[in-house]
């Protein structure tokens, strides 16, 4: 029976993430459009329907030295980041003691590195390989390497991983410090059960952690203003540039699921409501999952508003912003002690 529960909850959580993740993409676009005084697309169009449309388009071969690996990156990463969601599911807490913040941080690092690989494997026609005779007699010849946008994006992602990841990691560990444990189970139990919650979010260090987590969340999503690694002004969108047809659909799934998973992690760690799948209609039963999913909408909505009003920060602004919020996070940790 436990095995069946484990399988059912695992599958249901994956389905929930795969359904609501793309919906977040639509909500983000809709909110930004309304702020920009446009009608904007229907909520399901940018995520859900676009993905279905892309999956049914004729496959295109990317301009890449390793096209199969390049195409395999988004689905592989989706599966990997779903593990974060599964690790916050109470059914998984007993497995090999994996449900710790250290494991979660490790998986998050994998997701970040994936963009570096993506950038290294893409070779769009929009820069070096554009058939345009500009390297001719009399032209400036400097620089040993002619680099694609995507290569530059990979370089920027390495810098981004180094700098902009600090806030979210420091914020994740504030609940751990308060609960005195890195186990997700202990952090959730520290906040009481579903009917008698005392969320970390409503404490001073918890609130500071939530603010810092939000900044880190935006940085993890590479959304405005933390989108220098795929700045539209110069790099267009960096590594994912060569994704077309079904691969672009997969990339949208990845982005949507990543939004959902990080938001879900926030709800688990700061609100004390893990994504429990219990198919009974008694409390907590199915209501805990409903509440969890409802709360996951908060961060994407806030991100949409911030993104609509934030210009891209270059590294000159990114360093102080990231270090500033990291310092606030450290202050939160000290308070949590």
């Amino acid at each position: 029976m436990d095995v069946i529960n484990f399988i059912i909850s695992t599958v249901i959580l994956a389905v929930v993430a795969l359904f609501f993740g793309p919906v977040f993409l639509g909500i983000e676009r809709k909110i930004q459009a309304r702020i920009q005084q446009r009608i904007g697309p229907p909520i399901l169009t940018p995520g859900t329907w676009s993905i279905l449309k892309f999956w049914y388009k004729k496959p295109v071969m990317p301009n890449s030295p390793m096209p199969k690996l390049y195409h395999a990156l988004p689905p592989a990463t989706v599966i990997t980041i779903l593990v974060i969601l599964w690790l916050t599911n109470p059914e998984w807490w007993g497995i090999l003691s994996l449900a710790t913040l250290v494991a979660i941080v490790g998986i998050m690092k994998f997701e970040e590195m994936m963009y570096v690989v993506m950038g290294a494997l893409s070779r769009s026609i929009l820069s070096v390989s554009m058939p345009y005779g500009d390297v001719v007699k009399g032209a400036v010849t400097k620089g040993k390497i002619r680099r694609f946008f995507e290569g530059q994006s990979a370089v920027r992602f390495i810098k981004h991983i180094t700098i902009a990841s600090f806030p979210i990691y420091i914020a994740i560990f504030i609940p751990a410090v308060m609960a005195g444990s890195i186990y997700v189970e202990d952090i959730v139990n520290f906040q009481g059960d579903f009917l008698n919650l005392d969320p970390i979010l409503f404490t001073i260090p918890g609130f500071i952690g939530a603010v810092v987590y939000f900044v880190g969340y935006v940085a993890q999503l590479n959304d405005y203003p933390f989108t220098i690694a795929k700045a539209k002004g110069d790099l267009i969108e960096g590594g994912p540039l060569e994704y077309g047809a079904h691969a672009r659909g997969n990339y949208y799934v990845l982005r949507g699921v990543w939004m959902f998973v990080l938001s879900s992690l926030f709800v688990t760690l700061f609100c004390g409501i893990p994504p429990l799948v219990s198919l009974t209609f008694s409390a907590p039963g199915i209501w805990q999952l409903v509440m969890h999913v409802a709360l996951t909408f908060v961060l994407p909505i806030l991100v949409s508003v911030l993104s609509a009003f934030g210009p891209i920060l270059t590294f000159k602004q990114l360093y102080p912003v990231s270090f500033g919020f990291t310092a606030i996070g450290v202050f939160g940790v000290i308070l949590a002690l």
Partner: protein, 366 residues
């Protein structure tokens, strides 16, 4: 001190097809890490041969074609081309026509500057204010449509005056003034919003500096030069503008912020000119028909297009057909300055710097 065009480790060519380049051109950035140490811009991917097209055609047809050189600053191209004949054959233009030429031209300049804000803010990444630039622009486009019958190609000036459809009734004058008021208020709020946004200012303050010496050396023109302290505007030399009380906006800093603020301040001078124009529009003829086409030596005329100095020059043969037509648009002379302004900047800021000089490749490639 002149900026050093140093060695580079990496070259990143951009475009021709690229979201940050509204039109096809090819900047090649030479970088050390992410800092631009040299830049080369290549043009002519969309050459249309407009100048060759003019050879031997009647001058009125030539004038109409000049309007098609650009979709953003169409009026100034037509007007300057018409001024060449008027200067060469000494054709007087009635005062009412002069007023209307100025009004249409200045409204066009305003819409051009608002496109610039939209583009620059889009590159900065502030899509909301980028979109709002187009909301702010729309009332002026509607006004241009009502005044001239067209939103883009107004075809207002003709030799000796303006077209009859661009001659507003008294009722239209009142309506135009009524339409201007809320549009100007929205523009003011919009400009305040840009200037007061500290995040936007942090992206553009001190970026892409073009000193006055560099602006003069590389012959920067228009708002790009005026934002670097070069006090020059061809409108001060044109008789039609002498009916109006207005100021040339000159700023000294020479960075992207100056180029944005210069245009913002220029927008309010434009509104001032247009308002004066509608309030003081004299009665009278709109076209002088007392002239005859004939042989004309090569004649040159300068004008201040929204992006800077525009030169049109041609001759007429004895039948009034155009010979040796030549047009030099502002971006041609701004290119050198654009390359220099990028030096020492982060790659992302370098693209912004290029955009802040407001290049128009459609005009330039002709």
């Amino acid at each position: 001190m002149e900026k050093d065009r140093g060695e580079a480790d990496v070259e990143i060519p951009v475009g021709l097809v690229h979201p940050a380049l509204l039109e096809p051109y090819r900047p090649r950035f030479f970088l050390q890490d992410e800092v631009v140490t040299d830049c080369e811009i290549t043009l002519d991917a969309q050459h249309r041969g407009v100048e060759r097209l003019m050879e031997g055609i009647p001058v009125d047809k030539c004038n109409i074609i000049t309007e098609r050189i650009c979709g953003i600053c169409s009026c100034v191209h037509l007007w300057n081309s018409v001024r060449v004949v008027e200067k060469g054959l000494k054709i007087e233009v009635p005062e009412r026509a002069q007023y209307m030429r100025v009004i249409i031209n200045e409204l066009e300049r305003l819409t051009s500057h608002l496109i610039f804000f939209g583009h620059a803010l889009e590159i900065i990444g502030h899509e909301t204010l980028g979109m709002r630039a187009f909301i702010a622009r729309e009332p002026f486009m509607i006004l241009l449509g009502e005044l001239s019958g067209n939103r883009v190609h107004y075809a207002c000036p003709v030799i000796g005056g303006i077209r009859p459809r661009c001659n507003p009734t008294e009722e239209m004058q009142k309506k135009a003034l009524t339409m201007l008021k809320p549009a100007a208020e929205y523009l003011k709020d919009y400009a305040d919003r840009i200037i007061q946004d500290s995040m936007i200012m942090s992206r553009i303050d001190g970026i892409g500096v073009l000193t006055k010496e560099e602006a003069l050396k590389y012959h920067a023109v228009g708002p790009t030069a005026r934002a670097s302290g070069v006090d020059w505007d061809w409108r001060t030399e044109i008789d039609d503008f002498k009916h109006f009380d207005w100021d040339v906006i000159v700023l000294d800093e020479g960075d992207v912020k100056s180029r944005v603020v210069q245009r913002i301040l220029e927008c309010f001078q434009i509104l001032n000119i247009v308002e004066q124009g509608f309030k003081n529009l004299p009665e009278g003829e709109i076209r002088n028909k007392d002239w005859k086409l004939g042989e004309m030596p090569i004649t040159a005329c300068y004008h201040e297009a929204p992006r800077g100095e525009l030169l049109d020059t041609y001759a007429l043969d004895e039948k009034g057909n155009v010979r040796h037509y030549k047009c030099r648009t502002p971006t041609v002379t701004n290119l050198g300055a654009m390359e220099v302004a990028c030096l020492g900047e982060h790659l992302t800021d370098a693209v912004l710097t290029l955009a802040s000089c407001d290049p128009c490749l459609c005009c330039t490639n002709r």
